[in-house]
Point group: C2
Chain length 327, copies 2
């Protein structure tokens, strides 16, 4: 396949022209496990970097059944109708196992898939969230270089993936369903605090009344949290993706958010903080992996844990002993 | 000073006999920065370990002004009246700067200080929470070996110290004041989730009505959280330390908690999990410190951050570059 062997220069110039095939090939290189591919990917990213960053990055999360695919379809179509170019990526570390990422099922986004101003890419597979997150962050740069000005990052909310997505977007949207009144019951720790807006989805037909009640309850809950560093007061709204109701409102909210945070510098400061976060995070993960995957450490760690359990050493003495093995 | 040069064996046997002078000397060794002292401390701890662990460890937190000293005085006197031996330690990483740890001001605990079944020790000083926490955890072992069956760990709630204390106790008590109705407003993230019981303190005189209202509101808030791994349903109660009101009730609650969690194994499992946490935590902290305090890494990190800011590299490429410096 000749196309697979296109040079870095050729791929970069095609990406900068908005060529989708080149973009897809570059993302495939980013997702590869072949060291040569990764080297090529790094070179492409480096050349794309000066052309990236000109976008709004929107994270969207919500439990299965909340209607995320339909929402993204409706929201994406609305954005392209406004003249925007929309890239949809996903962070789903479980996708290698379930092979069931929502974005994998493109049939749920029939119109958006066919739309020439939209690009949909399922989650990279991988067992570690850190690995998947890195690949997604690098794909964002490539999409931006290809001219996509609206980047949607979807996550199914498995494990820590919401926190990871929150750390790579400008705006974080939580989709919820109206429930049986006790809206906050069982909600995942910290998710509400991360949300810049909560949209009660499937607010249509018989659900309307419950959706409005949920809106009131969430609004009250949001006011209990301390003010965000962005100085943004999180909003609660209702939407019916299937009827295209409230979708335009959500884009208006996001536009207001961008206007506010660009004016008060939070938008740029936050992106730089995110960069620092990923730099430090990547180093710390690697240091830990190197240490704890060391064969001698593994054997001695098991022994030290047993000594702790038997009350023969303390966690601190054990740590000192293990650290001396590698230092 | 002859006493300062007592042998490890002599100190250990005195500690096991409940000798407070020996206990204090051993804790001073734990807190020392002299490597010889630390070696001696480690030997003492090792010999004390088989005699430790037989206690209830109670964490107490609350903002300045909540009446923590008076509470601990009243609570400690109640426990000694029940025939218990009470050690009060503190985790306050700021104490080296402010020299104003609450426990430093022993005049606020006049009766407990004089009580022969109580031992009060101010926080170790130190700039890092990890260091202070380690010294406190080691002091707990020494106190337990000296026969103290009720260990109170106080924290003023600076920075992450509440999380650290939560990770070294069996039961976590949050002291609150009744406020102006909006009780949850501005409360520190995660603190409510850590609490096994919230006591609305200073519930006396004109405060009674507000305290009862606060109790209702906190009770409602606590029910919104998912069930704890301990299967314990957190309680809300009122107390007036100055009148000794509600103090006995709090000890009853703690006793119920211990009965439940010893029966369902959580008590012991949690202590082992805490040991593992401190082992892993200590290693990870040390790995990070070794890396980021390296002179070359410091210089190159600053350069890489500038390159990121200038859009010339990604956080991941920068991390790869920095890791190669030391690997």
């Amino acid at each position: 396949n000749r196309k697979k062997h296109r040079s870095v220069e050729s791929l970069v110039s095609a990406i900068l022209e908005g060529n989708i095939t080149a973009l897809s090939q570059a993302i495939t290189l980013v997702e590869s496990k072949n060291p040569e591919h990764l080297e090529k990917a790094n070179a492409i990213i480096k050349h794309c970097l000066p052309h990236a960053n000109k976008s709004v990055r929107i994270g969207i999360t919500g439990v299965p059944g909340v209607g995320k695919s339909t929402f993204i379809e409706s929201f994406g179509m609305h954005l392209t109708a406004l003249g925007k170019k929309v890239a949809v990526l996903a962070v789903d570390p479980s996708s290698s196992i379930t092979k069931g990422s929502i974005l994998g099922d493109k049939t749920r986004m029939e119109d958006l898939v066919k739309n020439k101003n939209a690009y949909i890419r399922p989650s990279a597979s991988g067992s570690s969230l850190g690995g998947v997150a890195r690949k997604t962050r690098e794909s964002i740069i490539l999409c931006e270089a290809a001219g996509f000005d609206s980047i949607i990052i979807e996550t199914v909310g498995v494990g820590q993936s919401e926190t990871a997505v929150h750390s790579m977007v400008d705006f974080f949207l939580l989709l919820k369903l109206a429930g049986a009144g006790d809206e906050l019951q069982g909600i995942k720790r910290g998710i509400i605090e991360m949300a810049d807006t909560i949209a009660i989805n499937k607010a249509d037909g018989e659900n309307m009344k419950a959706a409005k009640l949920a809106k009131v309850e969430f609004n009250r809950a949001l006011h209990l949290y301390p003010q965000k560093a962005s100085q943004w007061q999180p909003k609660v709204t209702t939407s019916s993706a299937i009827n295209n109701d409230g979708i335009d409102k959500i884009w208006e909210i996001i536009s207001d958010y961008v206007t506010l945070t660009k004016a008060n510098q939070f938008f740029d400061d936050n992106r730089m903080d995110q960069n620092k976060f990923w730099l430090i995070q990547t180093i710390e993960e690697q240091l830990k992996n190197d240490f704890f995957n060391n064969t001698e450490v593994k054997i001695e760690l098991a022994k030290q844990l047993q000594l702790i359990e038997d009350n023969k050493t303390t966690p601190f003495a054990a740590a000192d002993y293990l650290l001396k093995l590698k230092l």
